[in-house]
Subunit: 323 residues, 2 copies
């Protein structure tokens, strides 16, 4: 197919249109994923997560430079939760990334949630497949660290990097986000700030507490410190160290035969999301188009029925075999 | 039913068991929601969100005291994303809340994600219904601010409070979490820290920029400052101010007839989650039990098929009418 060939050739215009059409759920676009899928599975996918304000964008910007120096092509997906402002002029850090726009070895794209049915993870997965088929060696996916959907998105990565900054509260607050179990590498960013020693100690004690049997392949997540961007030399060195650490993690996955296990888990997560789009969404769409949903909501609000009972009724109506 | 009566009477042991059984997806427990549902819809539900470390727990702790002084009964659900440590001894702020345990007018419960299929929102909704049927006047739901699931959970509230602290980065970072559109009240916590003036100005400009037509009922989210807990007098005053502001917001919803619209949206969100549990989960469970899921994942990993194609095949197998 013409479009598939253009994607494999790295045609930026075709790729951008396809990602947008998939976000907009244009049914025709879905067929494209089927035809590029056989050409995927080659990229190293790196996930970045951390609180808003942790400086993820600045680090990714520098990481792209470093990978380009090392002769790798890079795709980056910057994922935002839903916001009325997303895509607008306010997203300054997105604008900064645009300096890579003239480098054909780099493709940067912002992505935002558009619906309420968990469509963002699905769109991000599709975009990963497209960048992968395009031949990008490295695919970076960035998102904020909390919430199941954020974790689902970041879980698609082979190497997960958690960015922390000093002064955000106790280690207990870090644990809340459930990130210890998904982190392959920690970065302490803005490491010239007060409290860096405290944060380092807290992360170390957390890692010490964690049962070492649980570290797959014996990979204990290292902690990389990154200083102020004003000190260019020191910042560049920490980005080099980060890149070396990322490569070491990937080599460990490959050499210990652990990548397969991670890929199985990732496919399972993606499949669940895809089933949602294939099964649940059409049912909800039908209920909305027929206006039945309004009658149902009225019934629940009048307390004449409850969501569970209604859901069982709908299941009985749409499923072939329903207990 | 005996159990229903005990819940309506506020039996803490029965309520706790039921919430746990619903989290554990014990099928029998689901029938309880059906029988208490007609007794729900009376509580004022207040949502608290904000980054980890923003001091939400301390504020909620003080808010519970203030509502008790005003003669209201309170239920609080403290919602954590999944973590291997959740429920353990590390959650110090949860322990602090336990001082309310001797007050029969207060019920505090921590909740954490246990599965990967978005079950947390569903469990939180069930717990809200139970506390509502129990007769709690005020139900507080706390969660971290980011991710679609976090937003879905907090959206069940009638009044949404977003907690901010100085020094967490630019306003642009706040926007990322998509919280402007869900906030009814902002709190600047730890308002004795450096940068409080800057944060206040940033929030004000954000609110000024936002199209005022979008404020339902003309309610422009006010900004409440809360100082250091070491200055007891000033902290107590800010909690009183917060409580007055929450009450004013609720009265505005009621007087402008806006509550109904919010309730419709909330029921719709809950219904989507319930459909997920009633339709999608049984299909995934069947695929897993039969071992078919492993064959499917292998096929995808060998690139012999892709998730979309597989999902359409499964939809054809389970849905009565599939295009």
């Amino acid at each position: 197919m013409e479009r598939t060939k253009k994607i494999l050739d790295g045609n930026v215009r075709v790729v951008s249109t396809l990602i947008r059409n998939l976000e907009d759920r244009i049914p025709e676009a879905k067929t494209a994923i089927g035809s590029i899928y056989p050409h995927t599975g080659k990229a190293h996918i790196i996930g970045f997560t951390g609180s808003p304000g942790a400086g993820k964008s600045t680090l990714i910007d520098a990481l792209i430079d470093e990978y380009r120096k090392r002769g790798k092509t890079v795709g980056a997906l910057l994922v935002d939760p839903s916001s009325p402002f997303t895509g607008g002029a306010i997203l300054g850090d997105r604008v900064r990334m645009q300096r890579h726009a003239t480098d054909s070895g780099v493709f940067v794209r912002s992505m935002a949630s558009r619906g309420s049915l968990g469509g963002l993870s699905k769109s991000v997965n599709n975009a990963i497949h497209i960048l992968d088929a395009m031949g990008k060696d490295i695919i970076i996916v960035e998102t904020v660290g909390a919430g199941q959907q954020g974790i689902d998105i970041i879980n698609q990565a082979h190497t997960v990097i958690v960015v922390q900054i000093p002064g955000l509260g106790d280690a207990i607050q870090t644990l809340k986000a459930g990130i210890l179990e998904i982190a392959d590498i920690f970065i302490i960013n803005k490491a010239d700030r007060d409290g860096v020693g405290k944060l380092y100690q807290e992360l170390m004690s957390m890692l010490n507490m964690y049962n070492t049997d649980k570290y797959p392949g014996g990979w204990r997540p290292p902690i990389v410190k990154a200083g102020n961007t004003n000190n260019q030399d020191s910042f560049r060195k920490s980005v080099e160290e980060l890149t070396d650490t990322i490569e070491a993690h990937y080599q460990n996955l490959l050499s210990k035969d652990l990548l397969g296990e991670r890929l199985r888990r990732n496919v399972m997560i993606e499949l669940e999301e895809t089933l949602d789009a294939a099964i649940l969404e059409p049912i909800v769409t039908k209920l909305m188009k027929s206006g039945e949903i309004d009658r149902i909501i009225d019934k629940i609000l009048r307390r004449e029925s409850d969501p569970d009972t209604i859901a069982e009724e709908i299941a009985g109506k749409y499923l072939k075999e329903h207990h």
